[in-house]
Symmetry: C2
Subunit: 647 residues, 2 copies
């Protein structure tokens, strides 16, 4: 390693990354077949609607043609500095999809796009449409604000996916050459630039590239970018001066914006642009994992604790402020004005998935699941063709999904996450299989050298009953770790029909069943999934006096279309019964929640705006639907935090 | 009149402006001496601190020197298009003050400033620093966006005040010449521009000018500006095309911004920039009064009803949105993000004062009083040297008064209103005296030809006991109308010590006592002034579940400095006793309100951000202070709408 002796004293850390049995490797998306009721519909929409839709927009907006490098001054549109990343994420998603669901049309598009990208690579390995065709003289002159290394990272992720999906090395080799070139430009050695990206992404991509190529240079380069970040003298100061700018005039006001205010190991709080933060923290988790770096893991966990205890929406959304597309202050979680970018929730999934491989701790899976089932899934319409950029927790009725955005990072980001969803369900190591998510599926995996086919049957998230069936050629001993979600207060387990006492078998939120498994063994997990009222910490001023409704991993909301009065006038008594029922015809099939609540009456107010008598209440039947499904019917109000009747 | 036959059918109007006894004339500020405990302190601060403070800033920022017209290209600062108005409002305030409180230093400054203004007038009568010294070629080319006619109006108001205060005609004559020149430029006649100001103001100023000069041309010009507004073909469309601009590219998006979307008589809703709206509506009320125009009055009242029933803060603030400095949607009254510009509240005082002279209806006085005692008074610090531009109803602790603003309309606007406060208290006509506000003072007035000195004794707004003593050379018969504020539910009256039954003597919120008055007669009014809980219409989503506290005309707020926890964590039970006590040493002497309330406990939450148990409550003593006095101690949170405990 280039930076092995990080000197920080790790003796105070309570956790060692070396703790046996903790580190896992995710079972790759290619080896998992999802065939459930809930996700399969979404994944089919992703394949059949989203991917062609995004391809069309990449084409129509000029993003694909930009790779022809034939832009001439004066021609509109001008290839933008982040366009490459949109194409790369679409390509990555298409590759995931092709591997599990072959499709001739899509395969041809992938080949064409790969050819376009390959042809755009420069002799020195450089690969960026904007800084080749539009402003070649500005290559590497503003890492702080421009997206060169970010685009490089996304192209690398696409190349890895392309290789994994097709076995073809063309794109992987091209991006390896680009990585080699970047490695020759950046680093601590004399003559190299000591820079690092303003928008993190390449750090985690280089780890992926290392994992498929085995080339340690890429891991070291990732380490370099992570370790150099935020050191003094500050690279962005020097870089600004080279451009003739005053570093203090940085438009974002603070280097917290891109998490370069401090070296990453010294950072205590999740700050700045939320997507950037998530990609950085994901790479930190990757490096902690690969390098057995307990100190870096501890930094990650400090940031996780801070974020999850003060800056996380109940939906798994993060980054409450539009002004920096990121974090504001502790407990500042506005609902209507929430930014909660879809990409940030996706980044939160990435980060927690990585932490979950380092330490099999259900808290990471809980956050991952909350983000996935609420913010990420809400980011796309049921038909797969419109998208949210911001994911507010309340709306007056003006916030709607769009087909595309000028800055269109979110749509292809959702597409690639959904297309690779299989990878988030299972993990394995030498001794154990871990089941992180409950999605009906079949996984082909390997535990301690033994090939196992694990069949999961469930109607989760509508029901908490899960059966796992083990198929294998020969019997073997291993541990099967099943996540007990944080939202679940009562779980029970049967192994081949016999009750299994959880006591003494739960570690960090996972129940572990170790035995000599035989083909045909079945484990039945029953997670109690009642409708539950949730309350926010008293520090969250935007949620005071309010209650949210959850059932399992799903956060519920009210929509205007189901209610006769504006939603703020509805009050949910603490003792109102919350009933649930499955509605097969509604919103592709959902469990909705009903209750007898109250509503403020305005009939006796007339023209009065203020008066000394409080409003009267009338009974009101209310309906809540899963938050992810909102804005799929007629436009209108939405609200997650219901006013409660204080007892 | 130039436009006598406004053809609209007035037969459907329920009110006639000709109704006898309704129209009043305000007793001028010069004839009223205020000597109370409450306002006298504020008025002394205005004279001794605010006026010198504002003069210094007008001087230091170059606003005074701009009148020398010696600006040269490249020199900073560039005289701005609205600078003249700041100087004019300061001058107007200084003149009011000088007439009631002679001051040699101030008198000299007034003479100097008047001389500066006089010297800046052009041979044709034109008088504007920016469009004379900086962009003379752009005179009258953008009425929509620039402030030429607005500045002219403020100079006219200053000239009228200067004449009334000093008897000198110099400035009045100069501004009359300017008005004559403007009259020669604008109007419906062939060859004239059919324009009108983007920022209303000159319309009401021309009525003032008419009243002191008797020159009907000024009244007609005001009428022209009012009537031409919003007609088709639209002047701002044509004017934009003349500048080579696309009218549809208007930066504000809609002519509702400056209330020119429709002819004023057809307008149904208070829209757009709130200060502009108030100045327009004030002029409409003036013209309705002067021209006995029932249809124009009806338009005014429609706008008043709309505003007061849907878009008025409990503080008398208006214009909830920063984006247009104005009105947003019905019942949209955000607290933390309230704009509620100080100038808009002042404009609301102006408008309601004018309506009050047209129809002696206590509802106008109620709105005037709410704006005056809360939003206007809150706009200035107790020391008179810092100012709010925006007046939110809640603050996280970052909103503070400033010494000055780049756009500094509010500070001199407060100064001129305070310096002329005497004019808002009393009015008279041929048969009646009306007392609109309760402020200890002495008024010299004339009712039906009879000179009366009216002495008012009270400690209002701290107490609802008011005594009025009549002094006059000879006894006379007239009506004395005393306002019964809308906030008061129990009033009693004694005339010379004897109970006076209000029944049958209350008209539009005023009790009228008619008798043959003798010198020494005394009327004692007792207004019950309990602490009261107030609730907002259920349509106001920002105030749901909340309660405000009022006592008399004063709205109360909590400040962080008086409380151990963030204010959103405090809950006021509906049955908590609200006690009040006078604190002589606090905030120049205020009645504060105390209660035993509850607060949400966060001690048992730890790092938990969401949980399924609602927060615990602990007892908490709370203190509320008058809203106008907030941000005069250590910086911190503020909140008007308290969470209530729903029964």
């Amino acid at each position: 390693m280039m930076f092995p002796p990080y000197q920080e004293d790790a003796s105070t850390l309570s956790l060692s990354i070396e703790q046996p049995g903790l580190a896992f490797t995710a079972v790759p998306w290619k080896d998992v077949t999802i065939d459930d009721l809930f996700w399969a519909t979404r994944l089919r929409a992703n394949r059949e609607h989203t991917l062609p839709h995004l391809y069309r927009f990449c084409q129509e907006t000029g993003r694909l043609d930009a790779f022809r490098l034939d832009w001439k001054p004066g021609r509109e549109p001008v290839p933008h500095i982040f366009w490459d990343s949109d194409v790369a994420k679409w390509l990555e998603a298409a590759c995931y999809s092709l591997a599990t669901h072959p499709d001739a049309w899509l395969s041809q598009r992938v080949d064409e796009v790969v050819a376009l990208i390959l042809a755009a690579q420069q002799p020195d390995g450089y690969l960026n449409t904007h800084f080749t065709a539009v402003e070649p003289e500005k290559r590497w002159t503003n890492l702080r604000d421009w997206h060169e290394l970010y685009c490089a990272g996304h192209l690398m992720e696409a190349a890895v996916a392309h290789f994994q999906a097709t076995g073809k090395r063309t794109l992987l080799d091209a991006l390896s050459r680009y990585a080699d070139y970047i490695d020759s430009v950046f680093g601590p050695e004399p003559g190299k630039k000591r820079g690092y990206p303003g928008h993190e992404e390449i750090e985690l991509a280089l780890v992926k590239l290392y994992r498929v190529t085995g080339e340690k240079r890429y891991l070291r380069l990732s380490q370099y970018f992570i370790e150099e970040r935020g050191r003094q003298p500050h690279y962005y100061d020097a870089e600004a001066r080279l451009r003739g700018e005053d570093p203090a005039a940085f438009w974002a006001g603070t280097y917290e914006y891109n998490q370069s205010h401090l070296p990453v190991r010294e950072q205590q709080e999740a700050t700045g642009h939320a997507v950037r933060a998530m990609y950085l923290y994901s790479a930190m988790a990757d490096l902690a994992h690969e390098c057995h770096d307990a100190n870096l893991l501890a930094a990650c966990k400090r940031l996780w604790n801070h974020l999850c205890s003060t800056r996380l929406y109940i939906t798994g959304g993060i980054g409450s402020s539009p002004s920096n597309e990121g974090f504001s202050a502790d407990y500042d979680l506005p609902n209507e004005r929430a930014y909660a970018e879809t990409c940030a929730a996706i980044g939160l999934v990435f980060w927690n998935h990585r932490l979950l491989q380092v330490e099999c701790d259900a808290r990471y899976a809980d956050v991952l699941e909350a983000a996935l089932y609420n913010s990420v899934l809400g980011g796309i319409s049921l038909d797969g063709e419109t998208f949210f950029y911001a994911n507010p927790l309340a709306s007056q009725g003006m916030h709607h999904r769009q087909e595309w955005f000028e800055v269109s990072c979110c749509p292809p980001n959702i597409a690639r996450l959904l297309a690779s969803l299989g990878e988030y369900i299972y993990a394995a190591n030498e001794t154990d299989i871990a089941v992180h998510l409950y999605i009906q599926s079949t996984a082909r995996l390997n535990v301690g050298g033994c090939a196992v086919t694990l069949r999961q049957e469930t109607t989760y998230p509508w029901n908490g009953a899960i059966t796992l069936r083990i198929e294998m050629a020969e019997s073997a001993t291993f541990g099967l770790k099943l996540r007990l979600p944080g939202w679940c207060h009562h779980a029970s387990l049967r192994v081949n029909g016999e009750a299994f006492d959880l006591a003494g078998h739960v570690e960090r939120g996972y129940v572990r069943v170790e035995r000599h498994w035989q083909a045909g063994d079945a484990v039945a997990l029953e997670l109690a999934m009642p409708v539950e009222r949730m309350y926010a910490h008293p520090g969250v001023r935007q949620d005071v006096g309010c209650v949210a409704i959850k059932r399992g991993p799903l956060v519920y909301c009210m929509e205007g279309v189901d209610h006769p009065v504006p939603l703020h006038r509805i009050i949910l008594p603490e003792d109102a019964d919350l009933a649930s029922s499955f509605q097969a015809e509604m919103l592709d099939g959902v469990i909705i929640i009903h209750a007898q609540a109250l509503m403020e009456d305005d009939a006796d107010w007339g023209r009065t705006l203020y008066r000394s008598q409080s409003p009267r209440w009338l009974p009101a039947a209310i309906t809540a639907i899963p938050y992810y499904a909102w804005d799929n019917r007629q436009p209108g109000e939405m609200r997650i935090w219901f006013r409660r009747k204080e007892g």
